[in-house]
């Protein structure tokens, strides 16, 4: 009984730890969708390229991914901005399926590119502390997960400060709500769209960089699964707020961890899709709509 309780508490804490990473990768998707109404299917590809970039930089410089994120995230801001100007902008007025297919194609090209350069082997970044753990009572915590959580949380707090406290940040939020009104107050909507796509990509880049500490990876895995988890998270948490995305990230991670703890590990990836389907059918507006309904009742 006590044993089960400890494992449940562990599942909670472990969910919190992985939620930082989930929220970072998902908020990039939410930001880009909010501003441009485009689903960035290349998000997973950007995460993957960022993971390999981190691997190479770690091998050559010996610097920890927690340090490298300061380089990798801005690098993928630039990659995202270029992708927006060269690819996305051209199809922004076309039907949604066009950008969807184009970005899906971009993802496949990125995968093929990584396969060509790095091969299909499973990689990982293993700094000295990778196997170290800390014990709090009966609960065991891995250092790498704590570090990744803290880094993810710091990134999201910085992003929130930027979106709320600067003209450019406010323009990004406003663009998601009414594009033409932005043009009418003097916002260069094309430029701000580019910045938003860059920021979304920088978040995916940061997530790709951090996940090297937690997950083994190859050009395909676990990025495809993570992409689908991102969809579950933004459907659940909504596109409006970082808090919604963070909370949905925690809920999904918790559902996964409890499934692993109380049932079978093989079911972990199934959870995300069950949640996605249930949310879409039962509460298509996500948690926010559910809360609104509660308030009205």
């Amino acid at each position: 009984m006590i044993e089960t309780l400890v494992r449940v508490v562990e599942a909670f804490i472990s969910a919190l730890m992985v939620a930082g990473l989930y929220a970072t990768m998902s908020y990039g998707l939410a930001l880009i969708y909010g501003v441009m109404k485009i689903i960035n299917l290349a998000n997973a590809g950007i995460m993957m390229l960022a993971a390999f970039t981190t691997l190479v930089l770690w091998q050559t410089t010996g610097l920890d991914p927690l340090v490298l994120v300061v380089v990798v995230a801005p690098l993928f801001f630039v990659v995202g901005a270029v992708l927006e100007v060269v690819v996305v902008r051209r199809v922004s007025a076309a039907a949604p399926i066009v950008s969807l297919l184009l970005l899906f194609g971009t993802w496949l090209v990125m995968q093929a590119f990584a396969n060509l350069i790095f091969g299909g082997d499973v990689r990982g970044v293993r700094p000295a502390y990778i196997d170290s753990v800390v014990h709090v009572g009966d609960v065991t915590l891995a250092y790498n997960r704590i570090f990744v959580f803290v880094a993810g949380a710091v990134i999201l707090v910085l992003l929130e400060l930027f979106l709320r406290g600067t003209f450019l940040g406010r323009a990004i939020r406003a663009l998601a709500q009414d594009r033409e009104a932005c043009a009418l107050v003097g916002v260069d909507t094309k430029r701000v769209s580019m910045v938003a796509f860059g920021l979304g990509s920088a978040l995916a880049g940061a997530a790709g960089c951090l996940l090297t500490l937690v997950f083994p990876f190859d050009p395909t895995n676990p990025f495809g699964v993570l992409q689908l988890k991102s969809f579950t998270i933004i459907v659940l948490g909504g596109l409006e707020s970082i808090i919604g995305v963070a909370f949905a990230s925690f809920l999904l991670a918790l559902a996964e961890n409890l499934t692993v703890t109380l049932s079978r590990p093989q079911l972990e990836n199934l959870v995300s899709f069950v949640v996605l389907v249930v949310v879409l059918v039962v509460m298509p507006g996500g948690l926010a709509a559910l809360l609104r309904r509660r308030r009205l009742a």
Binding site: F167, R170, A171, R173, A174, Q177, D178, E180, A181, C182, A183, L184, V185, G186, V187, D188, T189, E240
Partner: protein
């Protein structure tokens, strides 16, 4: 010379022509009104001046300088600012965030603290509601935010599209009082209104649009006395 000149403006929505050779002038410090029924081309004219809809032909000049073909954000930087029909606020931003974003452009930004104070003096109600989300305000309050947001850009010419639409009579009075005050102290006004009677009362000059063409133009008093206008728009 007029502050804003529109010369033989032609514009299309896709393949459908919306404006035919529209010409009119706005004198500095005046209130000019564009009248006409729904679909006559009033909003299209304002959207073309704002650069949202690039004209097919014709010229738009501000202080003699061509502004047609210039992107919308640059037109705001030149001092031509539109308060759009239906307000187009950002519903999930606070009142204050809506107003401050109005000062995004080059003219408004350095002056934003001072302009914000003066907008709150003009609309004390907004000061009380500054941290409320704009989407939760009443229609009248939203219109005040929309006008305030336009003023935050420090306009030379403020274009108001149907500012009294859907408002209670007491709020309509308030909106027209504010337009007078803006014209007297802050900016030249180009007003599009379905409330023809009230618009002609405060305007100096008026142009009447029908099917995308200017069919009548002149001093507001003269237009108000025109027999056709009286039957078609004033119900006299």
């Amino acid at each position: 010379m007029a502050l804003l000149e529109v010369r033989q403006l032609t514009a299309f929505h896709g393949d459908v022509q919306a404006l035919w050779d529209v010409s009119f002038e706005v004198a500095e410090g005046s209130i000019t009104t564009l009248l006409g029924s729904n679909g006559a081309g009033k909003t299209t004219t304002l959207r073309t001046i704002s650069g949202i809809l690039p004209p097919r032909d014709g010229e738009i000049r501000l202080g003699g300088e061509r502004i047609d073909g210039v992107p919308p954000h640059r037109i705001v930087d030149m001092g031509v600012v539109q308060v759009p029909e239906g307000r187009k606020l950002w519903p999930n931003l606070s009142v204050q965030e809506n107003l401050v974003l109005g000062a995004y452009g080059r003219r408004g930004r350095p002056e934003r603290a001072r302009t914000l104070r003066s907008v709150y003096e003009l609309f004390p109600r907004l000061a009380e509601r500054r941290s409320q989300l704009a989407g939760t305000l009443s229609g009248g309050e939203q219109q005040m935010v929309a006008i305030g947001r336009g003023l935050m850009a420090r306009p030379v010419v403020l274009m108001l599209d149907e500012p009294s639409l859907g408002l209670a009579p007491i709020l309509v009075d308030e909106v027209f009082r504010v337009i007078r005050e803006i014209a007297a102290q802050r900016a030249t006004v180009l007003l599009v209104e379905q409330n023809v009677h009230r618009a002609l009362q405060i305007a100096d000059t008026a142009s009447v649009l029908e099917n995308g063409r200017v069919v009548l133009a002149g001093p507001a008093k003269q237009i108000a006395g025109d027999a056709k206008v009286q039957t078609a728009y004033l119900g006299l």
